[in-house]
Amino acid sequence: MAHHHESIIREPLMTGKDMTYARITNEILLPVENKPNKAWWIGFVVSALGALLWVVSISLTFWYGLGEWGLNKTVGWAWDITGFVWWVGIGHAGTLISAVLLIFGQNWRNSINRSAEAMTIFAVICAATYIVAHMGRPWLAYFTLPLPNQYGSLWVNWNSALMMDVFAISTYFSVSLLFWYTGLLPDIASIRDRAKGLRRRIYSILSFGWTGSLKTWQRFETVSLILAGISTPLVLSVHTIVSFDFATSLEPGWHTTIFPPYFVAGAIFSGFAMVQTLLLVTRKVLGLENYITMFHIESMNKIIMLTGSIVGVAYITEFFIAWYSQVEYEQYAFINRATGPYWWAYWSMMSCNVISPQLFWSSKLRRSIPFSWALSIVVNIGMWFERFVIIVTSLHRDYIPSSWAMFYPTWVDVGVFIGSIGVFFTLFLLFIRVLPSVAIAEVKLLLKTASEQAKMKQIKEGHLEPAEVQYYKESLTKYDSVDMADYEKV
């Protein structure tokens, strides 16, 4: 907790000299209030081309039907549901950062929550497109809702996990959106107050008449906590239901009971990896090194290492219990994963998700920005393979060997997936142009307590344990945004 008894050994959450509230606002609003630079345009054009690919692929799917995909009678689910779960999983980090870390009083979340929440919204949008896409007849999407109808006994099947998914994900999306937008209100008001003309009108409407009075702030704090309380079970519920999709409906009888919490851990794992992928670039391009510091990068890497290890325990447990069960079918399902025709997918999953995050035990690698970025991509590849392994490898060899088959994606399958990445980045790039990518109001809370400058003042005042001060100074050497020369004299 940020208060004046905060231990000096806690690493600063904001660096930089002569930081003021005004400077924070100016620096964070720089990309919002100015014309985009070249890097942004390059990124945007590439992403938009990806989004175009998505439009083409999805249009073909809608026009001609699911026959455009490489599905067959045995493998009736493949890249589509893989992509869906991949995106839903990625969407988990936002809620974890905004809700769970808020409840645990982890104020380092203040600098990364905004982008993580935005990423969540965009990832869930991408996931939702898959739900609609693989309905085959998307114009009948309303069939998933328990609406009174005139078709006799036609009613949604509550026993199907896919049905529960519709509710889990729409709830998750609504609450995440609400959380994100509520957090944005004071920041939108800041933009409003500095804008002129039509721009001011637009931001004025978007700010819901934020006044910045004490009462407003009080309500803001209360609503944040309430939303955090509501969101925390959602972090668990969404991927629990998603795990039910596979635990209940892939092969009759096949399941492992560990699925729900292991899927949740995997989702957080992939979500943090995607936050890392986005923020390491955003930090550099938008010059946010003082706000998204080495401490944040390292902390996220530690969470990636932790959740990767949890997923690893689950993989090993599944294998062990498959052997221990002495059930032939259970054993075959796992032997086929590791040594069957899809062995390469299995071992890609294992090495990307379990082995590679262990490299983060090395503090040198954990603090290397290029390495962290590369590993975040590796983790996302691994998590894609995890879903592919669970789905396609389980399906392609079912109980009857005569129906065994392989799955080969068509270019439309690939197009929908690559295209969805394009849609995601297009949305994210638009977001950083129109809204602040760091929660201005929330990082300002750190200035007087947890910033490098506040800590420097504390050191100069004295009264601290010399050993602890020394420890603190040593921890600063890893920061790329701290000038150690400032600490020679103090």
């Binding site: 008894h5 905060e6 050994i9 039910f244 290890s309 090993i316 447990t317 069960s325 344990e465």
Partner: protein
């Protein structure tokens, strides 16, 4: 708030408290003796209860190490001034481990004859489903092909290996962390803090990977045909909630006796949040295991719940959810509730009873089966272990050089903690 605390204060473990814990131990001995003298099904009940309490005892001590380890690794500030309590649990783990191993040894050596499906066999009181003579010997009339397939894991030497190595390593790391913390009091500086941090990481990695295996071996193998991947994490959740509840109770007790005056409703609030949250988590894993087993409807898996839905257990089966989920959910929901020491105390008592029942439901249907009971053996064995735990933990707290880690770098944060 008091501004000056006497950190040199020591806890004295004497008088009524000591007498009560000794009375508890005597009751336990009486309960066990009663069961053995009564004979018949009572002997099985004694062994099952001993295993239950031995495992519960080990789990609560382990939770002490787990709690201090993750608090150090997460650099938690609030808990620094109460860390001596879970550290005392850690110091008791070696004794708890030896007791558990002795119980298991006695249960494996002591055999009796049972008649099942018209066949009479001689089986040990504990782990009868895999440790019975000849069960993995091809050609024997007791031969069981499925258990034979599992013998790489379910065999006596490996089983003891798991018990001794795992519990030994957990105890070693737990005691080391407590010792470094005590050394920090006199030496100051950051060296001990760094060492605890490192040991806590090592502990968490080892513990995370091995605890499920420990639970599979000690508890799940009682019904050796049955399997569930979730079982390890389910036990982890149960262990964590039980440990948190006991930590909170010990704090409340010591405060009522006039110690740990620096702890206040803010610390209780944080503990309450953990208890509340992890009770929900426990219910989540409980439900996930139940739901997926029910949904798949595979005979080899659903048999586990069928047994627990027999009339002897059904009532207890649902009571488990009431005590371990509904009770903490409703009792600790509001902010104010978590800050009232009596409310937290009563919730913790319900939870300890609840997790006893949770272990009861894991152990009894596969051992005593329809001959279940709830009286002398159950209540007195619980009293015995509770007395022993209290006696040992209070002894360790009394022996600790100080009740607070005086030079802990986050001590000031903990002393001025507010929510």
């Amino acid at each position: 708030m008091k501004t000056h605390n006497n950190f040199d204060e020591r806890f004295e473990f004497t008088g009524t408290a000591k007498t009560i814990s000794l009375v508890g131990i005597v009751l336990g001995v009486i309960g066990i003796a009663f069961g053995f003298i009564s004979g018949g099904d009572h002997i099985q009940r004694v062994y099952s209860n001993l295993l239950l309490m031995g495992y519960f005892f080990v789990c609560v001590c382990l939770a002490g190490i787990f709690f201090s380890a993750y608090n150090y690794v997460a650099q938690a500030g609030w808990s620094a001034s109460l860390i001596r309590i879970p550290q005392a649990f850690a110091k008791v783990l070696p004794i708890a481990s030896i007791i558990l191993i002795l119980i298991i040894t006695a249960g494996l050596l002591h055999t009796h004859t049972v008649t099942e499906n018209g066949k009479t066999e001689t089986v040990p009181y504990l782990y009868a489903h895999w440790a019975a003579h000849g069960i993995t010997t091809p050609g024997s009339e007791n031969f069981d092909a499925i258990i034979y397939g599992k013998k790489g894991f379910l065999n006596i030497p490996f089983f003891y290996g798991v018990l001794i190595v795992f519990l030994g390593v957990y105890s070693f790391l737990g005691i080391k962390m407590a010792k470094f913390s005590e050394a920090e009091d006199t030496e100051g500086g950051m060296a001990n803090y760094d060492k605890i941090f490192k040991y806590a990481c090592i502990f968490l990695v080892i513990f995370g990977f091995t605890f499920p295996i420990f639970a599979f071996g000690v508890i799940m193998s009682l019904e050796a045909h049955w399997f569930s991947t979730m079982f390890g994490w389910y036990n982890l959740a149960a262990m964590h909630v039980s440990g948190l509840a006991v930590i909170a109770l010990v704090i409340i007790y010591l405060q009522k006796r006039g110690y740990f005056t620096w702890l206040n409703e803010n610390h209780l609030h944080d503990l309450g949040k953990l208890i509340f949250g992890f009770s929900i988590f426990w219910c989540y894993v409980w439900f996930a295991q139940f739901f997926l087993t029910w949904y798949a409807n595979m005979p080899e898996e659903s048999v586990y719940f069928y047994k627990r839905w027999e009339p002897e257990y059904k009532w207890w089966f649902w009571l488990n959810i009431v005590l371990n989920f509904l009770a903490p959910l409703l009792l600790l929901m509001s902010r104010d509730a978590k800050r009232l020491s009596n409310r937290v105390m009563w919730t913790c008592i319900v939870l300890i009873a609840g997790h006893w029942l949770d272990y009861y439901l894991m152990i009894m249907p596969g051992t005593v089966g329809e001959h279940r009971g709830f009286f002398i053996e159950e209540v007195f064995t619980f009293a015995g272990f509770a007395g022993l735990f209290f006696y040992l933990v209070m002894g360790k707290i009394a022996k600790a050089p100080s009740l607070v880690p005086k030079k802990h770098p986050f001590l000031q944060e903990s002393l001025h903690h507010h929510r």
